[in-house]
């Protein structure tokens, strides 16, 4: 029996989804890790807000006490006002300042080691607009960005590699995501758009891996140099087993 083209397409999509979710053993932990990271960020944000709220309420009460002691007794109405004020401040500080995704224009000025975290947050904010099939690539890139930050600290900001990294993270990657978002909504879900986006994201992922490898190679070389130095400094060249006598 001949299959309808739509059915075939739907089946292919299902197969692809199955492959994405089931066949990759690393996918689940990766997604879990991603969840954990998001949760961590949330917790940190909530903690900061709570601290702000407490500090705000405390300063209102302190102001009222100081006023009562040095200027004039505040009376019952004053106490009521203070409580009201403290509550207002707490409510206000619970949602202000709003957590804002980093702006693209600000990215080029960001110092390189802080860049991956910012781009990660930017990506997180735009994630909702990206198609589900690209989730794995996005998760992968976000995990890479998470690792990359501390590594970039070792990198000389003027080196070509640093410039490559900056260009990739602050320009090329956001541009890819933006140009996907600019595809009219009616065509965005098409397999073609998704395919282009995923291909692009894969290249970005490969490039970040390359950067990671290059940085690691530099450290490895430095380690090798130290080893060779110790060898030439302390080891008898004729009999490498025996250390040179002191």
């Amino acid at each position: 029996m001949a299959m309808m083209p739509e059915t075939r397409e739907a089946l292919a999509r299902y197969d692809e989804w199955l492959a994405r979710t089931m066949r990759t053993p690393g996918a689940l932990p990766e997604a879990l890790k991603h969840q954990t990271r998001r949760l961590e960020r949330k917790t940190r944000s909530v903690g900061r807000r709570l601290r702000n709220m407490l500090l705000g309420a405390f300063s209102v009460v302190l102001a009222a006490v100081l006023f009562g002691v040095f200027v004039a007794p505040i009376g019952f109405a004053g106490i009521l006002l203070t409580v009201l004020g403290a509550m207002c401040v707490m409510v206000l500080l619970s949602s202000w300042p709003a957590e804002r995704a980093p702006q693209l224009d600000a990215l080029p000025q960001t110092p390189l080691p802080a860049l991956p975290a910012k781009v990660e947050r930017w990506l997180e904010a735009h994630r909702i607009a990206l198609p589900a099939p690209a989730a794995r690539e996005i998760d992968g890139i976000m995990a890479q960005l998470d690792r990359l930050g501390p590594q970039l600290q070792k990198l000389d900001a003027a080196s070509p590699l640093a410039e490559d990294t900056r260009r990739l993270l602050s320009d090329h990657l956001p541009r890819l995501v933006k140009s996907y978002a600019e595809v009219p909504a009616s065509h965005r879900a098409s397999p073609e758009a998704t395919l282009h986006l995923r291909d692009g994201l894969k290249v970005v992922g490969a490039e970040i891996s390359r950067i990671e490898t290059t940085i690691a190679r530099e450290s490895l070389s430095a380690l090798e140099v130290e080893g060779k130095f110790l060898e030439s400094r302390y080891q008898d060249p004729h009999d490498p087993q025996v250390p040179r006598k002191p």
Partner: protein, 395 residues
């Protein structure tokens, strides 16, 4: 004083530019790898010929040729430029080993017995009244200088470690450069094969499909030839950089010898002074630092340690027997000067050959930079990394 073997530090010869024609083949490519490369090239050519000459797919294949070897060239270029970034250590008189040697020379000159007149005469107040012992005063000056000398020697030791570390880094860099050159060589092999096979295919197609033959000649073959030249240019630069790194290493080794000898001769002179003082004034010259120096220097200079030990015995013998022990001391100082002079001569020669090498390499790097800029441009166009088929074989 014991006879010293004359120290001769030889500045390595400057590295001459490597001719582009002779650049290929310096790094061997194994036969097995060569076979694999040939297969890759065959597959590529077959694929290219199978396409319609006007199709975008044909264009895509040709594009791959235009960026062929670009990654390997960039990698090798990064490596060979490193030599130019590497500061020529210890050649600079203002810091590190150069400064230490200058200081050592100055300190030693202050102690030089030949500048103190006749040590055997007694000092006279106003030139008339005998007052004090000149020799005793002279040997006293060692006590005040010994701390200084030992600081300089320690600093020289640190400088030596720097040189050794530098050489270790050069070893690592040279190994990496060798790998980069290996990949470059593979790319050269491939580009030459491409050239030959495309030419052959174009000739075959001349009769049955002249349009395709023309397209192959004008695009694919053109790019393949251009890439061959670029790869060969980079290879020449890389080989030159590789040899230049060896030059720095050899320089460092010579300098290490010089520093060793400078330390040995200084310690040896101090020891002689101790012995001579004993013979001349009956005074037991106690140099606290000397004991420390003896151990440290002997550690430092394993090869010359033996020489030092035999020397000491001889000095004792000579000083005791010789009627003119001051001469022995003067000879010890002359040895220090001879060492310092040979280091200076070496530095002057080495600087010249370094400069020649740097100039030659800078010129070559400048040439290859043109390609790098072009390759950067191609990288922007290329975008996707679909060049998998034409890459070197990883070891």
């Amino acid at each position: 004083m014991a006879k010293e073997t004359k120290l001769k530090l030889e500045a390595p010869v400057a590295v001459a530019p490597v001719a582009i024609d002779s650049a290929a083949g310096l790094v061997p490519v194994e036969a097995g790898v060569r076979g694999q490369l040939e297969q890759k090239v065959d597959a590529f050519v077959a694929n290219l010929v199978a396409q319609d000459a006007n199709s975008p797919e044909f264009g895509k294949q040709v594009d791959r040729l235009s960026s062929f070897g670009q990654k390997q060239i960039a990698e090798a270029a990064g490596q060979s430029n490193r030599f130019l970034d590497r500061p020529v250590k210890a050649m600079d008189g203002n810091n590190g080993i150069g400064a230490d040697l200058t200081q050592l020379r100055r300190t030693v000159e202050d102690l030089d017995p030949s500048k103190k007149g006749d040590l055997m005469t007694r000092k006279k107040l106003f030139g008339i009244i005998p007052f004090g012992d000149k020799a005793r005063d002279y040997f006293d000056s060692y006590k005040s200088t010994q701390g200084h000398i030992s600081t300089i020697l320690k600093s020289l030791q640190n400088g030596k470690d720097e040189l050794l570390r530098d050489n270790a880094a050069i070893d690592v860099e040279r190994r990496q450069q060798w790998e980069a050159m290996g990949k470059l060589e593979q790319m050269i092999v491939m580009s030459k094969l491409l050239d030959a096979k495309l030419e052959e295919k174009a000739a075959e197609l001349d009769a049955e499909d002249p349009t395709k033959a023309k397209a192959i000649r004008e695009t694919a073959l053109f790019y393949a030839r251009q890439r061959t030249t670029d790869l060969l240019t980079q290879m020449a630069v890389s080989v030159q950089g590789y040899l230049a790194l060896d030059l720095v290493k050899k320089n460092n080794i010579e300098l290490l010898k010089g520093v060793d000898r400078a330390s040995t001769t200084t310690v040896s002179a101090l020891r002689t002074a101790v012995t001579v003082a004993q013979a001349l004034t009956g005074q037991k010259l106690v140099l606290d630092q000397i004991t420390a120096l003896n151990t440290t220097t002997a550690n430092v200079i394993d090869a010359t340690g033996v020489m030092l030990r035999t020397q000491t015995a001889e000095i004792h013998k000579q000083a005791a027997s010789s009627t003119i022990p001051v001469e022995t001391l003067k000879q010890a100082f002359a040895n220090i000067y001879a060492t310092m002079d040979s280091i200076d001569t070496f530095k002057a020669q080495a600087l010249i050959s370094m400069k020649t090498t740097v100039d030659a390499l800078s010129g070559e790097v400048e040439k290859s930079r043109g390609y790098i800029a072009r390759a950067e441009g191609m990288a922007q166009i290329e975008g996707k990394s679909g060049v998998e088929a034409l890459t070197p074989i990883e070891a």
